[in-house]
């Protein structure tokens, strides 16, 4: 691991303050990207506050939010992100077959209208760098302008998180298989 957790004794007072604040929030600890992010405490603190909204306060229903995160984890080949959010997605009621298809880079077969809407929007934004008029209009119609922004923000935030996890080398827990296989690029 390139940027492992910083032992308590080695933290600067600023790092300690930020670590305590993050652990006191709804996450409860520094798992995922936050041990690595602590190298830049101002960034760590502000990214954590952003992530809190996108995990716990977003206007997008939990299962659809996790669907967008999984598409993002796949787009960035972020193993830990996909591993961690697969569990949260299952807990939120997203069908395993959909998760498996995303992991394999396939379009899921059976999706509800809402799932398909989010899948299309997210896939287009990562792949084409923008959502089509049709996908944009559907999300706006269903969740309003706020929903569009919350969806874009969660995908962007988890792009940032995926970058941190990959560069820091945050591993999936011992014994867990890597959820993502390499895809052949078109």
């Amino acid at each position: 691991m390139r940027l492992p957790p910083i032992p308590d004794a080695d933290r600067t007072p600023e790092q300690q303050r930020v670590a305590t604040a993050i652990a006191a929030g709804p996450r409860g600890d520094l798992r995922g990207p936050f041990n690595a992010l602590l190298r830049s405490p101002v960034v760590a603190e502000r990214v954590a506050v952003l992530g809190e909204y996108l995990r716990f306060n977003t206007s997008i229903p939990f299962d659809l939010n996790e669907l967008a995160i999984l598409v993002t984890g796949r787009a960035w080949d972020a193993q830990f992100e996909f591993y961690a959010h697969r569990l949260l997605a299952l807990k939120a009621g997203l069908p395993d077959a959909i998760i498996q298809a995303i992991a394999e880079g396939r379009r899921p077969d059976a999706m509800t209208a809402d799932q398909e809407m989010v899948y299309n929007f997210a896939t287009e934004l990562h792949r084409d760098r923008n959502a089509s008029d049709a996908s944009y209009a559907r999300v706006k119609e269903r969740f309003g302008e706020q929903g569009v922004i919350d969806l874009v923000a969660v995908m962007g935030y988890y792009s940032l998180v995926g970058m941190v996890l990959n560069v820091a080398g945050v591993p999936v827990p011992p014994g867990e298989p890597l959820p993502l296989k390499p895809l052949t690029k078109a």
Binding site: R46, D77, A78, S159, V164, V167, K185
Partner: protein, 211 residues
């Protein structure tokens, strides 16, 4: 601050910012009097901070004011509190703009990059999708790190170690954070279809993407 004073302060800040107010095809510009209290509070915080005005992604982000506020604080961190020297930080931002073909982002940050001393030839090559031919050691370091991050979603050990040796572990995180934050900005600008000011030609040619 009460609502009226807030709206007045905001109207003043926006008047000062003039035509820089973003024009988004997909998100009509919010006038101060149309804003909810939460929206005008966040707009005032943005216009009253080091940016001094509302431009770029902020008109779109105000649709979800709580997220807009949290995003602008991350943005302030990666722009104004970074350990990465300003010219290199702006270079990293231009790389994101090129990768996402985010025209407005390139337009806004090209000026800032030039002010910070990034050579025009480096930016010009990047705009064309070429590896810049004449780069300093530091510029080449940032280029390799950021391009690997965007294209391969990972950096090599050699690149990681070189950035860590030069800018420390904080530098590594600051470089990733600025890259990630501007991915969020690019996604927003592209989704919002944020327009360039009238009379400005798109600075980035459309390239065939490699991935």
């Amino acid at each position: 601050m009460n609502r009226l004073r807030m709206a007045a302060t905001l109207a003043l800040a926006l008047a000062a910012s003039g035509p820089a107010w973003a024009q988004d095809l997909r998100f009509p510009t919010l006038a101060p009097e149309q804003m909810t209290e939460a929206q005008s509070r966040v707009a005032a915080a943005i216009a009253g901070g080091p940016r001094g005005r509302i431009a770029g992604p902020f008109n779109a982000w105000l649709r979800s004011p709580d997220i807009g506020d949290r995003l602008q604080r991350v943005g302030e961190g990666v722009r104004f509190k970074s350990s990465i020297p300003r010219d290199l930080n702006e270079f990293a931002i231009l790389i994101v703009a090129r990768e996402w073909t985010a025209q407005y982002e390139w337009y806004a940050h090209h000026r800032l990059a030039m002010e910070a001393g990034l050579p025009a030839a480096v930016a010009a090559d990047l705009a064309q999708g070429r590896k810049p031919r004449q780069m300093s050691t530091d510029q080449a370091l940032v280029y390799d790190f950021c391009m690997q991050l965007h294209r391969d979603h990972q950096v090599t050990d050699a690149t990681f170690n070189a950035v860590k040796a030069r800018f420390g572990e904080q530098g590594v995180i600051d470089l990733i954070a600025v890259s990630g934050y501007y991915v969020i900005v690019s996604m927003t600008l592209n989704t919002a279809q944020t327009q360039l000011p009238a009379g400005v030609a798109p600075p980035l040619p459309i390239l065939r993407r490699r991935s």
